[in-house]
């Protein structure tokens, strides 16, 4: 049944295609049907490929229909350059920009036969955690269309939640995959810094940006990660460490694993229901055989200040190339929020202030890394909430820049330290809004956190719930 196709995992879709239960055409059409049905209400896409373009893509597969993603539709956050397909990074500065090359992660998916359906709406340049800082469409939360989908990869999360694509590639610099995944009730992975190539990902903050999969479940995220991860000669910060087959190693289970509970992740000011749902998940892990240990990450508070110095500094430099000469439009087209971040960064790097601000935050980074290292001596992973509250209403956070900063407190330090973190749903608020938790791992230990998330999703159903659209 067509409506069932969109509930299948990627593996089941591939098996179904191989076993001729349904065709690639049918799979693609099932998702396009949902785009046509819901997009006008959800705004998950800045660009949707038209029917003709998609048919060309399907035909281009030719006889190569046995690759790991042959015929599987997907979308990309609009921050990934896609040759010949408009790429805006959510900003008017790149309105109409047609890139001349493909991002590595995108190319890898294409090489495995994936079918690009479109580019997702987002906060411009990644600047934001609600996807409202954009010159284009603001994605709505499919669970409550008066609320934000989260950000900055809000469009990608909304698209998956509304079953418009089975998976998307988002981008996480300070929570931008985990935050919307949590608000929209889907699964999203912030990888270890250097696990996946950033070549072709329009840079926000070079030392913090990560490229990661978003999907309905951990299994799909693991499958996609196995495809996009690995050293890239075009990105000098990618790791030469071999890529495990994350998908094949999912089923280990978590018996005997030690889960650290960082006490600073359950602060005053965090929604009681959020804390409750995360705690319930922790009990579930205990049931499954894991050991719970209290740990501490004292520097998570200074992490906010450090992040809001590091990221704007790097972005002020990364956005300097947008001068409207070789591509794009002039700099007066930046949003106010983006200008604010550029100015913060410029100031923090400027003569006389570099030591007090940028250099100081590089030292804060050392302290944060030490904190996580110390915690990981006692446990194999850490678990905590993603957002302090369920999805806020549209317009609620944009008026107060400091409030906006503080709402990221649980997701910033993992980017500063470089460690991976998997966000997945662990319940709902009393008002029916998804609540997510994140499983944080050691550097390059996506294996453990994916195994843990998988075990959780075998024992619970949160990830199978979908919004009424």
């Amino acid at each position: 049944m067509k409506s069932d196709i969109v509930e299948l995992t990627i593996k089941k879709l591939r098996d179904g295609i191989s076993q001729k239960q349904f065709s690639i055409q049918e799979v693609v059409e099932a998702y396009i049907t949902n785009i046509n049905k819901y997009e006008s209400k959800i705004n998950a896409f800045n660009t949707v490929q038209n029917d003709e373009e998609i048919q060309i893509l399907i035909r281009a597969l030719g006889n190569n229909t046995e690759k790991s993603l042959s015929g599987i539709p997907f979308s990309l956050k609009d921050a990934y350059v896609t040759k010949g397909v408009t790429t805006t990074a959510g900003s008017k500065v790149l309105d109409g920009y047609q890139p001349q090359y493909n991002a590595t992660a995108y190319q890898k998916i294409l090489n495995q036969g994936g079918i690009l359906l479109g580019k997702n709406s987002q906060d411009a340049w990644g600047h934001g955690s609600t996807s409202e800082n954009t010159d284009f469409k603001i994605p709505k939360n499919p669970w409550d269309k008066e609320r934000v989908a989260g950000g900055s990869s809000g469009g990608s999360a909304a698209a998956i939640s509304a079953r418009m694509v089975p998976f998307a590639i988002g981008e996480d610099t300070g929570g931008s995959i985990r935050n919307p995944a949590s608000f929209c009730g889907i699964t999203g992975l912030k990888v270890t810094y250097g696990r996946v190539s950033r070549y072709g990902a329009i840079a926000y903050a070079s030392s913090l940006d990560t490229v990661g999969p978003m999907a309905k479940n951990v299994e799909d995220a693991a499958l996609v990660l196995t495809i996009i991860a690995g050293k890239d000669p075009y990105d000098a910060t990618t790791s030469p460490l071999p890529v495990p087959n994350y998908f094949n190693e999912l089923k280990r289970g978590i018996r005997g694993k030690r889960i650290g509970i960082p006490k600073e992740f359950f602060q005053e000011g965090t929604d009681k229901e959020v804390i409750q749902k995360v705690k319930e998940a922790l009990y579930k892990f205990e049931e499954l055989g894991a050991e719970l240990i209290e740990v501490s990450i004292p520097s998570i508070d200074i992490g906010v200040a450090a992040y809001y110095l590091l990221a704007p500094s790097e972005t002020s430099s990364n956005l300097a190339r947008y001068d409207g000469i070789r591509y794009g439009h002039t700099r007066n087209n930046f949003t106010v929020e983006t200008m604010r971040r550029i100015m913060i960064g410029t100031y923090a790097l400027s003569a006389g202030y570099y030591d007090a601000y940028y250099k100081k935050s590089l030292k804060a980074r050392t302290i944060i890394i030490k904190d996580y290292k110390k915690a990981f001596e006692k446990c194999d992973m850490l678990i905590g909430p993603v957002n302090p509250t369920p999805a806020p209403k549209l317009g609620e956070l944009t008026s107060d820049p400091v409030q906006l900063m503080l709402s990221d407190v649980y997701t910033l330090t993992q980017n500063i330290a470089g460690i991976p973190s998997l966000a997945l749903p662990c319940g709902f608020s009393s008002t029916g809004l998804p609540i997510g938790m994140q499983i944080m791992g050691n550097m390059f230990d996506e294996t453990t956190i994916l195994q843990t998330g998988y075990a959780y999703q075998q024992a619970t159903d949160w990830h199978k719930m979908k919004p009424k659209l």
């Binding site: 990934y80 350059v81 790429t87 990074a89 790149l94 920009y97 890139p99 001349q100 090359y101 991002a103 950033r198 070549y199 072709g200 990902a201 329009i202 840079a203 070079s206 030392s207 000669p233 075009y234 990105d235 000098a236 910060t237 500094s313 790097e314 002020s316 430099s317 956005l319 300097a320 190339r321 947008y322 001068d323 000469i325 070789r326 591509y327 410029t346 790097l349 400027s350 003569a351 570099y354 940028y358």
Partner: protein
């Protein structure tokens, strides 16, 4: 020209384009000169959204080798930094360069005018070149055209301490540096083509003491007083000679201002080679805030001692060492040694010719003779192989193995047998003489020396000439 109460304080900033095959941070070809605009560009060197830099190993190694050739320390830790500023030829809005941890520091170069002098090298570092701007008029409107072929080409920057005290010293320094770079084979270092660029920083300082003794000592230590509070940077210099002229012009300009009680403005000036003057470009006072920070996209460099000594061993003999060796091994004068080693090509040519000597059984040529022939350009070395050169010299300088009297007899015989040739020669036809020489040479079966024959012929013919 230099006033007794003042002395010039000159430091040099030199940029050298490396002749690597590919650019500094991408695989585009680095040979940009003369190519159609914007045909050697990729996402990286064009600064497209999402592009990332990956450094060229050879370029870095060559930079270190240049540092070693300039007696620099090579710190084990080094990194790249971003230098942030806006300009249309700078596609990323920042240049990847090196700020506080350059590849090489604290070196020196010995120059010689009358005395020897050491010029200290502050640093040698790597950076990338910018695109090229062209000014044009399109449809009646002034505009600027941009070509990014040159964007991303590897550049090495050499900065000296302000130890230079005259335009002559500056020119000597440049020539020496140029020679070393050519010896290393890392760049064409052609000032006219722009593969070597120079920006002198010039100021003039009042000497604090009038006591000539102290002045003499202090002068060699470069430690008289403080450095002046201003300095002028001069751009657009396209040759060593223009460098000397521009520096001389500036020194004179500064002296005039200073003697009027004025301080020259701290600024950047351009050299106008047609008018022979410098003109103000912009005030250096409005110094750029480059907001340097470590380049996050490129991991740092950590050398091992053995990697550095490996690079050192790859440096073939440098000019100074070669001169010393030539003087010792070939018993040449310093003058001869210096000229022969001016270019490594000439030095190699000379040594190839020397190799031929041992092949010749009749080893009567000295290295000095060969040196003379090359130095005095008695043959075109670009058209004559070293082997041929040796043959030629052998022929011309062959010791006479024929009796003087016997030679005279033969010559008289030839003259008698060729009255027409003799007449031709007497009427001014030089060709006839050569013909006669050839006849005599044949007759003597190579036992006589062509020069000697010629001379004898002329003598004998002129005796009969009245």
């Amino acid at each position: 020209m230099v006033d007794d109460k003042y002395e010039p304080i000159i430091g040099l900033e030199i940029h050298v384009e490396l002749k690597t095959k590919s650019k500094m941070f991408c695989g585009c070809a680095a040979s940009w000169f003369g190519k159609e605009p914007n045909t050697l560009c990729c996402p990286v060197c064009l600064g497209l959204p999402g592009a990332l830099p990956v450094p060229n190993k050879k370029a870095i190694e060559w930079c270190v080798m240049l540092g070693l050739a300039l007696n620099c320390e090579i710190p084990l830790f080094s990194k790249f930094d971003r230098k942030n500023y806006f300009y249309p030829d700078l596609p990323k809005g920042y240049q990847i360069s090196q700020y506080d941890k350059p590849f090489a520091i604290n070196g020196s170069l010995k120059i010689k005018n009358i005395e020897e002098k050491i010029i200290r090298i502050r640093r040698v570092h790597m950076e990338e070149d910018t695109g090229k701007l062209l000014h044009a008029k399109v449809d009646g409107e002034n505009c600027t055209l941009i070509d990014f072929n040159r964007s991303g080409v590897p550049l090495v920057e050499i900065v000296t301490e302000p130890d230079i005290r005259s335009s002559e010293e500056a020119r000597n320094f440049l020539k020496k540096l140029h020679q070393i770079i050519r010896y290393l084979g890392i760049s064409g270092a052609d000032m006219e083509k722009g593969s070597m660029r120079l920006e002198p920083n010039i100021s003039v300082r009042q000497l604090k003491t009038q006591n000539s003794n102290i002045k003499a000592i202090s002068k060699s230590l470069n430690l008289v007083g403080d450095y002046p509070k201003y300095k002028v940077e001069v751009k657009n210099i396209n040759s060593f000679n223009f460098a000397k002229k521009a520096i001389d012009y500036e020194i004179k300009r500064h002296l005039e201002l200073l003697s009027n009680g004025e301080t020259p403005a701290q600024e950047t000036r351009g050299w106008d080679e047609k008018k022979g003057i410098t003109y103000s470009q912009r005030s250096k006072e409005e110094a750029h805030d480059y907001r340097y920070f470590p380049e996050p996209d490129i991991p740092p460099i950590n050398w091992t001692e053995s990697q550095i000594s490996n690079l050192k061993s790859q440096i073939t003999e440098l000019p100074d060492d070669k001169v010393d060796r030539f003087i010792k091994s070939y018993r040449l004068s310093e003058y001869d040694g210096t000229i022969l080693t001016d270019s490594v090509e000439t030095a190699n040519y000379f040594e190839k010719a020397i190799e031929q000597l041992s092949n010749e059984k009749k080893n009567q040529l000295t290295p000095k003779t060969i040196a003379n022939w090359i130095i005095n350009k008695k043959v075109d070395t670009s058209k004559t192989s070293p082997e041929k050169l040796v043959q030629l010299i052998m022929q011309r300088t062959q010791v006479v193995q024929i009796d003087e009297k016997e030679l005279e007899e033969i010559i008289k015989k030839i003259l008698a047998a060729n009255p027409k040739a003799v007449a031709d020669y007497k009427s001014g036809k030089e060709q006839a003489l050569l013909f006669l020489v050839g006849q005599v040479m044949r007759e003597t079966k190579g036992k006589a020396n062509a020069e000697q024959i010629k001379q004898k012929l002329i003598d004998l013919v002129s005796i009969s000439r009245v």
